[in-house]
Symmetry: C2
């Protein structure tokens, strides 16, 4: 505990957010954190109420050309195809096995869900966690060649550390599958499994060889996106965050819910405008579309981060 | 942080669990905690994995003659009856309004759910939290005359403090409504809302006067009881507890799931056998029945606490 104390002091003493340029977003973050942590300040918030929520895909790590979890799904279809001879003719599996990713797009969200349910069921939660860990240990991004866990944003890692050093409790609130994130968020982000909220499938408690197991069923239980993010926060945290960080229209309701509470509030959107160092996309993108939430940010004065202008580096060195 | 450090040291130095007699359960608890916290011990568990889960009704506070939340439901029916003239003739509301609690029993679980849904909906989550707080501030138990939050078990409060002083994270996993518990568990048990798991109703995100609200719908979303407790733990915590504390058959699967993990595990059931200081009930009770879980405890060597023989005091002085 004493070591932790000294370490936290060192973090506070060092200049925070070194990978952020000295532009408006960095200043806005620091101003907010200082006013809610200064005792006697009219905006002071007691530590237990310093809840900060972060979207994952596109906010903490990259989401192009498609969500990482979906690349995992495609790999699982290929890996398990020998046990599913019917996939050679059944769609959308046949299209995946032919490697026709453009053709796959025609199956839309329904097709994605069908592939996800098929590859995320029929095993226990513990078996699934091992599949995720094993895949992330070796799979590499088609463009950068990096491990996916190396495609996290260095400035956001610093922000997580800075907030926690100032007494915040940091949560992930993501449309991604909760069981796809929990095996690695503690190591990569310092966010333990119990602070990860996400979409989930139904589970069944049953005995196997005399031991209880939680089996994953091929049925969606909860979609943690848009309105679902506000519901997920209430269901899991039970108090309203004072700070919310996102990057797309899927995060709009989370930012609305956070900022509508009384007292000081902070909302931030990451704008992907750096085609050279990452990707550039917003209003027209199928993945991580930023359109309505961007308009609301302009109207309400939410902080918008330009990855190109506000971040010195994107990925960890 | 330094103050916390010194305080934690003081707690560790003092004799733990002062309201527990020096009988087998106290010894079993201390033996378990010492072996999982001693570095180098073959049973050592790193602090982040020291997850302990507690049932609430009958484990942390009294549940007789009926669950406290249901007494709140009955009071809500009476209080809001003027806005529901139809309740004078509609059952089971009419029976409640006549004060016929024996007659109410005939409506069974279905009747309880119907009354709960009717009184736990039609308002926002924030309005509901205020109703709960206001009710608990004044409502008194029909037999003891105490506030319900004074009918918590002193030995269990000490156990929560002892576990947290040893690096455990303590969670509630209760069949009770999550929104009925969260407004007071932090103050009474030191357990923050985000560590409370319970049954829940459906919510709807909507705008009211231009501000977002989470409205409570008259529909059950999740029942956190029996198998549901293992599912609730996986859904909210995402890792398996190493210690579980309950008192009834509703806790059986939670204890099974906890103890089936690898390494040192601890399971405890509170047996209500003290008719003089609290209540005595087990195999035949409609509320908090302890029957199958008791048999499994005997078979597997789970710790069973006799409130009469193992606890010096029941309620806080």
């Amino acid at each position: 505990m004493l070591v932790l104390f000294l370490w936290a002091t060192a973090i506070r003493a060092a200049e925070p957010l070194p990978s952020w340029n000295d532009t408006a977003p960095k200043k806005a973050i620091i101003t907010f954190v200082e006013k809610v942590t200064r005792e006697g300040s009219p905006d002071f918030v007691p530590a237990p109420e310093r809840v900060a929520v972060f979207d994952n895909d596109g906010t903490l790590w990259s989401e192009q050309p498609i969500y990482t979890q979906f690349l995992f799904v495609l790999d699982r279809v290929k890996t398990t195809a020998p046990q599913h001879p019917e996939w050679k003719t059944n769609e959308p599996f046949a299209t995946v096995l032919r490697g026709d990713l453009k053709g796959l797009a025609a199956f839309g969200v329904k097709g994605m869900l069908e592939l996800t349910e098929a590859t995320h069921s029929g095993m226990s939660t513990e078996e699934f966690k091992k599949l995720v860990k094993d895949w992330l240990a070796t799979a590499r991004h088609p463009k950068t060649g990096r491990l996916y866990t190396e495609m996290v944003y260095q400035p956001m890692l610093e922000l997580l550390v800075y907030l926690r050093a100032n007494g915040f409790k940091t949560f992930i609130v993501s449309g991604g599958g909760v069981e796809f994130m929990r095996p690695w968020t503690e190591k990569v982000y310092g966010i333990p499994p119990e602070q990860v909220i996400g979409s989930s499938g139904k589970l069944k408690f049953e005995f196997q060889d005399g031991k209880p197991a939680l089996m994953k069923l091929p049925e969606v239980d909860f979609i943690d996106d848009k309105e679902g993010k506000a519901l997920g926060i209430e269901n899991h945290i039970g108090r309203r965050p004072i700070a919310a960080f996102g990057n797309s229209d899927g995060d709009q309701q989370m930012l609305e819910w956070t900022t509508a509470g009384g007292g000081a509030r902070f909302a931030l959107l990451v704008h992907h405008d750096d085609a050279e160092r990452e990707w550039a996309y917003d209003r027209e993108s199928k993945v991580g579309r930023l359109d309505k939430a961007w308009d609301e940010a302009k109207e309400k004065g939410w902080t918008v981060v330009s990855m190109k202008g506000d971040w010195k580096t994107i990925f960890p060195k």
